[in-house]
Symmetry: C2
Subunit: 370 residues, 2 copies
Amino acid sequence: MKLLYQKIRISFILGISLFLCSCLGSKSISTDAIVLKKQGGFAVGGTVKESPGTFDPIEHGAFNPSNQSTEGQTLHGDHATVYYQIPVNANEFPLVFWHGYGQSMRTWQTTPDGREGFQSIFLRKDFPVYLLDQPRRGLSGRSTEPTRISPATDDQLWFGIFRLGLGNNFYPGVQFSKDPEALDQFYRQMTPDTGPLEIDVNIDAVSALFDKIGPSVLVTHSHSGGQGWLTALKNDNIKAIVSYEPGSNFVFPEGEVPEPMPYLGGELSARGVPMDEFNRQTEIPIIIYYGDYIPEEPVQNPGKEQWRVALAMARKWRDTVNKYGGDVTLVPLPEAGLKGNTHFPMSDLNNKKVAELMYSWLKEKGLTKK
Amino acid sequence: MKLLYQKIRISFILGISLFLCSCLGSKSISTDAIVLKKQGGFAVGGTVKESPGTFDPIEHGAFNPSNQSTEGQTLHGDHATVYYQIPVNANEFPLVFWHGYGQSMRTWQTTPDGREGFQSIFLRKDFPVYLLDQPRRGLSGRSTEPTRISPATDDQLWFGIFRLGLGNNFYPGVQFSKDPEALDQFYRQMTPDTGPLEIDVNIDAVSALFDKIGPSVLVTHSHSGGQGWLTALKNDNIKAIVSYEPGSNFVFPEGEVPEPMPYLGGELSARGVPMDEFNRQTEIPIIIYYGDYIPEEPVQNPGKEQWRVALAMARKWRDTVNKYGGDVTLVPLPEAGLKGNTHFPMSDLNNKKVAELMYSWLKEKGLTKK
């Protein structure tokens, strides 16, 4: 009898709970859902080109290639395009994700084998997430300058440079699915430049994004690594940088720029800037991650060689920034216990562990607060 | 004393409610949130090109333009790229959104003045939403064929063709924000083709998407309108079509193709196919919407003229499909009480009302079921 009474009482409380949930203008949802307050897209930065003269919309207003005129018309181009998602009960500092060479915001959306990308992983950790396509790439295709796109059969070149393996053979233990569909998806993430690749155009647009959204954390990958340091030099709203496998454009004080580093197939140089500009890099916490298969000594493998010198240059840069009071951490992932990572740790098979490392660091630096 | 006791009791029940919500693995959220079970991106369709020979990853494995070789390498291209979001407690039939000429998935993500696009509006109505960039556009930039991109100052041409107004002057009563930032954003949605625009390549990729995701509703805009009819001819998983301002490629039975329709600046032709192919269009419900500022008689305004003949052709097409047992509805939005719409009703100021019309039709056709 007492048990029955307790059961009724529990049912009553459960019922009241559900009733209250619906009355209070809320709904009860599974904790593994992604709950967004808002999402959308916008362009930021860019320029406007204008042709002299007067546009005649009657004479030249039809889409007729044989009777076009640019007179008196404008062209809006060279902007970045941003896709953002704001979770409910969001953290204070958003994450801005910037892709690498030949890539787009797809880098962060999903993994080649169809699991969640950093976009969703960090939304679940309550970060507002901004994914961007830099000017003249992907959704930001509208350039003010012309270009020729000449697609070439070069998948295997990237297979090597992105350190999945050599030729068509995966490295042993690589954190990449052996399902052929995953590699097919990976290759299809590539997307060409729709205008000349100009670092200053990219930096201007991304800096305009930070002006618009305020203090945030920049997350870079590969080619955006160097562009990220340069953007931070000019924008105080970049409160921290997480950089996956930065490859170039490390910024040293003038007079302390290391000698160019030769490697099989190329040479890596660094940049010099006046000390007061350089110092900006000492004012924010920065962490750099590199994956696996990066040798310490020269090897007969160009795909590995490029990253051997990048890692060596990154170490010199870390030491220089820290010497002047900076807070740069450099983590080769194998040293943190994560083996088999390619040039794309954010979408490798162990990307959740890679994300946990990043999250711990953000937390340590006070960047996860509400 | 009794009141105090009641207060404690209510507090107790509220507390228990919240406690149970969290214990039951759920959280209580505001009803105006977007609640996603899953989201991500993938490529679909496309081809693989292969160069004869053998790739030497040591000799040609560095990113060195002066020493490249395509020998033995592949190129994955000509796919569509899809960004999908699946809400919790989703409807049975997803919506697949296909952009128009010079556009990308941005069309559906937000409005130029920063409000929610159809992506979020229909997620809130529990539809799984798939946004796509057709091959050689936006995130699907990797083409197997080369092209030259020659950006021209042509914003005002599109201002007219997209029926915002004439020259630089908005039409009176147009459903477009007069904030200059909105027009700036609108122009920056444009993005060029990264390879030759080939309708068959596009149809193949979008058809592959429907093969992958199963029975769904196709939502088209402008240039994808005609491509949508052609895709439906070959894929039975297209269960219905909603088409905003289709402009070309209306498909008639051979022998019943209307005469080409001349207009100021061009001429609109239709396509003829064998009757058994044509008939596929009679098997699914279809609705077509056109906006405002479309004249019934020829006018000295090329931007309006193009749509005058598109609307006239759409009426002939509706009558022909319905004559053979089809279910095509054609709605000029002004006749439904919505005035001032441009060529982009999905992102005009009254886009929520435009969405409500579409939703009512989907409901009427049994396409909103869980």
